[in-house]
Symmetry: C2
């Protein structure tokens, strides 16, 4: 499932609050991205067409629900990102992240901790 930039906006709002109407969503969107009502509707229609969102009627109005999960969307987005920028492999991204100045020691430690925890969890579960 491939989402465009504005579709991500919509989905992010929808994952956060759903079921939701077009209006609900627009209110929930960040200040800077306030589209015309019809714009949201168009985006939502396209998402429904794609099968990323479900639409049902409550009286006259449409109510939307996400079908794909955020993690699913993240996964495919990550895939694409890796393919384009890192030869499709995770390792290069990992080193890149580790190298990045923008990653603070704190974040670095967080990452290390996450890994350790995850590792422990994996081990313990077996």
């Amino acid at each position: 499932m491939r989402l465009t930039e504005s579709e991500w906006q919509i989905m992010n709002a929808l994952w956060q609050r759903h079921p939701a109407t077009a209006r609900d969503l627009n209110d929930g969107l960040p200040e800077e991205v306030r589209w015309a009502h019809t714009t949201i509707k168009t985006l939502l229609s396209r998402l429904v067409a794609k099968g990323a969102v479900s639409e049902s009627k409550r009286g006259n109005a449409s109510v939307y629900e996400p079908i794909i999960t955020r993690d699913e969307a993240r996964r495919s987005s990550l895939r694409t990102f890796l393919n384009q920028a890192f030869d499709g492999a995770v390792e290069p991204l990992l080193s890149f992240l580790a190298k990045e100045k923008s990653l603070t020691p704190k974040q670095r430690q967080q990452l290390a901790r996450i890994l350790a925890d995850e590792d422990a969890r994996k081990r313990g579960r077996k």
Copy 2:
């Protein structure tokens, strides 16, 4: 600097081998993505227009050089990716990566090692 999917292909080939002519590049591209010669030229022109690539003449033919570095491109791509899928923060991506089943213990360790090394380097440098 925002690169499209096919632009990434070109850039990846160009970072790998440059200076290069349109023909050089096409040869260097993965089998599946062999465009018509003119397609490459079009893409290259667009990249030149964007300021991502420089063009110079050698006789009749054009020779291209990347202007932006791969890391720069990666950085902005990462930025966009984070903004869309992870609220713009690195941490959520880190946890996501750590959580992912697809990340093997080996990769997890690699990442841990990278972090440790980087940390040491940082510390030692100060």
